[in-house]
Amino acid sequence: MDRETVWVEVKKNIAEVLPSVNVDEIKPGDRLVELGANSVDRVEIITLTLEGLNLHVRAHELAGVENIGGLVELLHQKALE
């Protein structure tokens, strides 16, 4: 699975959970909270993405993720394991 596949899946689920966000303008340095996601929305976006990519990440592994680019990087690494 390449990094782009992860990006596409993350953006698809951001659009699903936050309909008012224009996902084409999202940059790796953006944070979900800045896009208007509350705490449950953030977990929802991540859970939907994990389901879509058939991955599993433990909650503590997400603790260090700073932004959307970091999330994509973590999930991409998981996919390679």
């Binding site: 959970v17 309909p19 008012s20 449950v40 977990v43 929802e44 859970t47 389901e51 599993h56």
Partner: protein
Amino acid sequence: MNRALITGVGITSAIGQGKERFARALFGGEHAFAYMEREGRRKGSLTFVGAEIRELANATRIGERVRRRTSFCGLVALATVEEAWNDAGLDAVAPERIGLIVGGSNLQQREVVNATEAYASHPVHVSPYYSISLWDTDLCGLCTEAFPVRGMTYSLGGASASGQLAVMQAARAVESGELDACIALGALTDLSYLEFQALRNIGAMGTDRYADDPSLACRPFDRMRDGFIYGESCGAVVVEGSESAGMRRARSYGSIRGYATATAGNRNPNPDEQCEIAVIRRALKASGLSPAEVDYVSPHGSGSVIGDTTELNAVVACELSHAFINSTKSLTGHGLASAGAVEVIATLLQMEAGRLHPSRNLTSPEMPSLNWVGEGAINQRVRNALCLSYGFGGINTALCVQHEGL
């Protein structure tokens, strides 16, 4: 003493959304019974007759983002509360003086079954929102996020008596002065094929006797009945203290004269005539009404073979044979938790119109000597009405409503 008035109503049912449409459907004797189609209500060849809401007009106060993560039960609650809120003009009441009681428990079993089936093989991916929506209090959170209710909110369980219990608790809250206004919500009970089959197996829900013509299946008090038929519904009643309503000159549908509960002391669903007699007598006493002053009885009448007969025996024993009686459930189906609130609303709308709605499929009534409103609505003014609700757990409730305009 601060009397409990009803200053707003909201209704969503399979026979119509909004009080005007609902009243038209009641007086026209409409129904929406068919084989149920909603996801999680069928399993292979297993199907059930019931009444489903075909199109829901969502509350205007919520956006797409909230809609997406809200269950059907929640969306119906929001739309119904919005109607009641606007009907009562609650924007004029201080938020900290308004409460919301959600009547019903285990409201979203269909969501539970759907989530279990969808995530059985990969539970790690279950939506975090499921951890919120699984609680009945999700409706408290949803509705108080959308409407400025800051007094108190909680959910209250009484099985099929939940809706009426919520109205009673709301009345207590405004009579005591704890709140100026309290919304009592009879919440939509969203069940799956699993609960329907269990209710059929215990003998409470109707069988497939009328499989060839689902429109005949729901027939409370008719001799050919064989159990309740489910119908999706949700009712919101704004109960307001007479001081608050008087100060702001709110219009009132009627007052809650009195109410009572009685406990059968029985885990099983079989009815208890003595308990039903006791609850009616207590409610009349609390209302300061003699049986002769009751013009109309809105019965529980689920369509249960034993339950309906027992209820009529209790009505007769309480000297209420003269009162008019009909079956709202014959039109709406049995909304379970919502039923008590929906039937209080149906009673108020009938009082307001000076008409009583017909009962469907009442071809051969039990106790034909009673004052049945059978086929076709009748013009009849009602001053005092008695509403009855009975729920699993041996929970019996009765509530007297008085029309203010007569």
